[in-house]
Symmetry: C2
Subunit: 301 residues, 2 copies
């Protein structure tokens, strides 16, 4: 179920156009003018890399709910900045000590640890700044909702909390429930927030929000199961990062817990749940969100 | 001018009651429940320490403009969380490598570097979360304004940018203008934001805002000049951190640039500017803001 599979031409065209639009927006908003090389380090961390999955989720959800395209692009870039900062900090020697990311030296290797720390910190602040433009282009209640969703998903009860659990889990025999709880925070919260922030750029009923939240949760879990699968089946060149790292670090994964083929089957089940939740929304413009779930489930890196 | 001086009894009473209120609010909002020890590290970084200068500025400015006390307490705690996270990261081995802060082991010494990194990251997210409560207690336009002020002052064109300049300045012969430009970002931006966020909890004219901004800028500069003076005149026990550190690191300071007595005179001049700006606002409830400026200028640690 999780073998790499070709995208439809229409989804691929949408994806590429939106990835390019996100790149342009990020390049505009992450200024090179920040002092003492900080801007350069921030741009290095953010530009020209990554699948832009979180932005794509925000943008596609906004389309599905008839949301504001301008607000959606700000939400999309804000979640990507949070994701980018977390990678910068996660790669540092005191965390995962990774030297390769997206096929390039990591930020601390290229710019030094202190600058990497500051670049990550500044990217987090910039993420929130993007959500509160002072040009009247975003309604204050939408801005506040977007900030709330982003802050909760990034902080102690979201991504940062999940990273703390991950740190504490090395070498421990986690069961599947504990592993899923960790990933629900570490990667799931921000992926789900990408969907919910896209939804917050429009007007949606609580019932539809609940189904979108379920879609985001299932997609987030599928993402992580596939990530664990790719860690053992792909090579570093394809991944753009160090393959086999989790096993080498004695970190629990879905593959170490379930075995490779059951993990692949599980990814398929979770993806089916994502599709089912989408269908339950009753929204009409869902093709791209369905395609994004398949893209997550069947990607090669 | 910058010799330690007794506070008035009424200011001291206000200060102590507000410091206690801030402590209670922070203790409520920085939950111990964050997973895997993260909550403990966050609370260690935030609670039971510091002068709470930034919260006091926000609270006193809110009073001066007749602002919302509930919003002011959220603003006060948000700026303090940003300040606290910056200290955690700044103390790390890749930055200043400090082992003592407020008389206690620094967060990375107590909890390890990885947890310190994450605690700082989570504190930044929490700062923004505090500004967007979902209980209807803050008007969305006020929440958005507060988030905007905080994000700008914390990020690349504020505190984080100033830290990058500071890193790049070690061993360089900065002139006074360059030193002030660095501090305007590194510590000045967040001190000024504390004032402006307090102002944003009420309704103020642009002219008054401009004078409050000048007050915040002058107070921020005075704070740094006095900090440099104390680094050479106070001992570690009084400071609660390592004294003489700047000189040992060959960092440019106002004392190394101007000499001790001229630096003291300069602190006095800048404080006078802060008082003058306040007087220009035409606001009536300014006693506490005047007293805070004196407190900054005449503190012993």
């Amino acid at each position: 179920m999780s073998a790499a599979r070709a995208e439809s031409p229409s989804f691929a065209a949408w994806r590429e156009s939106q990835q390019a639009a996100v790149e342009r927006a990020l390049s505009q908003w992450v200024s090179p003018d920040a002092p003492a090389g900080l801007g350069e380090a921030m741009r290095y961390a953010v530009l020209d890399g990554g699948k832009r999955l979180r932005p794509l989720l925000a943008l596609a959800t906004s389309v599905a709910v008839g949301g504001s395209p301008a607000a959606a692009m700000r939400a999309a870039c804000a979640v990507e900045l949070i994701h980018a900062y977390s990678l910068v900090h996660d790669d540092m020697p005191c965390m995962d000590n990774d030297v390769l990311r997206r096929g390039k030296p990591t930020v601390h290797v290229r710019f030094g640890e202190a600058q990497a720390l500051l670049a990550g910190d500044a990217l987090q602040a910039l993420a929130f700044e993007l959500l509160v433009p002072d040009d009247g282009s975003m309604a204050p209640d939408m801005a506040a909702s977007l900030c709330r969703l982003l802050a909760r998903s990034a902080g102690a009860s979201g991504m940062a909390g999940g990273q703390a659990v991950d740190l504490a889990s090395v070498g421990l025999a986690l069961d599947q429930a504990a592993l899923e709880a960790m990933h629900r925070l570490k990667t799931g919260a921000l992926l789900q927030a990408s969907v919910m922030m896209g939804a917050a750029t429009g007007q949606v009923s609580a019932a539809v929000l609940a189904q979108l939240a379920q879609y985001g949760a299932s997609l987030g879990l599928a993402f992580q199961v596939v990530d664990d699968i790719l860690d053992v089946t792909a090579d570093s060149a394809t991944l753009g990062k160090t393959a086999g790292k989790d096993a080498a670090c004695d970190k629990p994964t879905f593959v170490s817990l379930l075995g490779l083929e059951p993990a692949q089957a599980y990814a398929g089940q979770v993806l089916d749940q994502a599709h089912a939740a989408l269908a339950q929304t009753g929204l009409t413009q869902l093709d791209t969100l369905h395609a994004l779930a398949d893209w997550v489930g069947h990607r090669a890196h």
